[in-house]
Amino acid sequence: MRSAWTIAKKELKAYLYSPVAYVLAAFFLLVSGFFFYNILAWANEQTVRMMQQGYPAEYLDINQMLFQPFFGNLAIVLIFLLPLLTMRLFADEKKTRTEELLLTSPVRLGAIIAGKYLAALIVYAGILLLTATYSLFAFAYGNPDPAPLLTAYLGLFLLGAAFIAVGLLASALTENQVIAAGVSFSAILLIWVLSWVGEGGPGAWRPVLAYLSFFSHFKNMAGGVIDTQDVVYFLTFSFLGLYLTRAVFEFRKWR
């Protein structure tokens, strides 16, 4: 545990001493801020129109009109963002040959992987937390229900955790960061759209593909619904990513 934290601290320094984390956070906030603004403008327009047509106020749900689509968009941005955050994790160690230091130290392989995963998770959580400032505006000028918001953030965090696990695995496969990012981006995108494939595919496979898709599990949480099944899915997925990363190292040793 202590050695995993040693690795995580070093990785956090690598993120924070270089412009990577700041630039990624800035782009993420720029893009997500743009989405928030647009969706808010749309929600306002809708609200005014519905009021004019005499709909009762109970029909207007800010969670549903603003936050659910907003979080859906955030998830899409993450598909682009997180591969960029994770691409350096192992690829860079291989390129600079520092990997040899880690793998000949008495630290367990599992602790090295866990430490790197933890560091990326912490940076991601920090970036995610910054988007909470948008919600503060919603609370200042309206009265959204906080519970679904927290659920959606938990969903985003778990979704990101799974993306990072995919990114970590991709980074372990190559010493080229661009390839690592490309592999993880494609893998995440494909798993995301598995549910669409499921809709058009042969009947028996539909539920299986839908179950494997990130999208199917995230859409409920974005709407504020916690289902243990979804939480278990994300945790299992993340664990599988870390496990396969470990397998990559074991395999490479014998090649």
């Binding site: 050695s3 001493y17 600079t96 040899e100 880690l102 000949t104 130290s105 008495p106 630290v107």
Partner: protein, 303 residues
């Protein structure tokens, strides 16, 4: 102590190391000598647990590397061929990180870092980013990280490569200081380096063990190269005149001598030769002669 027993390491189709065996006794410094691509780095990587062996085994202080890799890694300090430095950390942060990696207790880390810095004279760059330090300091930093946890065994892959002569001498001094306190194995393709620093040498070529030599052995042999071919009787006369010489042979212009004990003073022999009008062009230390013999013998057998 380092023991290597019938070690074989294959990569896909190629055999990088074939059936190598040698032993380095505790507190000794041994050299690992061979042309580039001979399998030096591969053997060292097996010793540090970075690569698994296909056959045979390696033991560090009696512990099998394959059986208890982590116990071995705690005892070993390793300087890889490319110094594994994180450019974004300062020298101080980097050494603290390596100390933590090696499981040093928190309260002992500061002292360990300080000791490693003192030993390798890193004080001038202590607060600098590792990516900004010069090659010589980088190599010293590599040695500092290898010794930070006071390992019993040090494995140094080409510790002086790419350094200028002054820096090479400095690094050699550092390595010599470990004699007695740690078992050291260092790789090199510079013969002079091995004769100056090491108690023994393992010579490998194309993954095969060519010879194991001790300082005793190479200290006993010597080659004197003359400017012109020598008469055969000269060797016999010399062996008769000097009882310390066990064997003398003339091979063209080269006079090959084997001593009973490593000689302390060559002057009597040299003046004897000068007295017989032998114009001496070069004196080759023993290891060079033995190295050439070991490597050439193989080539002779192959052809």
């Amino acid at each position: 102590m380092i023991q290597v027993e019938h070690l074989t390491k294959k990569f896909a189709e190629t055999v990088a190391v074939r059936e190598i065996s040698f032993t380095v006794d505790k507190g000794r410094i041994w050299g690992f000598l061979g042309p580039n691509g001979a399998g030096k780095t591969t053997t060292m990587r097996v010793l540090t647990g970075y690569l698994p062996a296909n056959e045979g085994r390696a033991l560090i202080d009696g512990i099998d590397v394959a059986a208890d890799t982590r116990a071995v890694q705690r005892r070993v300090g390793y300087l890889p061929e490319v110094v594994p430095v994180y450019g974004e950390l300062t020298v101080k942060e980097y050494l603290r990180f390596v100390a933590e990696l090696n499981g040093l207790e928190r309260r002992k880390i500061a002292a360990a870092v300080e000791r490693a810095v003192e030993r390798t004279n890193l004080q001038p760059v202590y607060g600098r980013l590792a990516r900004n330090i010069s090659r010589g300091f980088r190599q010293r930093l590599g040695i500092a990280q290898a010794v930070i946890h006071e390992p019993d065994v040090l494995i140094l892959d080409e510790p002086t490569i790419g350094l200028d002569p002054a820096q090479i001498i400095e690094i050699r001094e550092m390595i010599r200081a470990f004699r007695g306190s740690a078992t050291v194995i260092l790789s090199s393709h510079i013969l002079a380096e091995i004769t100056q620093v090491c108690d023994g040498a393992v010579i490998i070529k194309e993954g095969r063990l060519m010879a194991t030599l001790t300082r005793e052995e190479w200290g006993k042999s010597l080659e004197i190269v003359a400017a012109a071919p020598l008469a055969g009787e000269l060797a016999a006369a010399l062996a008769q005149a000097f009882p310390a010489v066990a064997e003398a042979r003339c091979d063209g212009a080269v006079l090959k001598l084997e001593f009973r004990q490593p000689p302390s003073d060559l002057n009597p022999i040299l003046s004897w030769l000068l007295g017989r009008d032998v114009r001496i062009r070069e004196i080759k230390a023993g290891l060079e002669a033995l190295y050439m013999k070991a490597v050439l013998a193989e080539e002779g057998r192959a052809s």
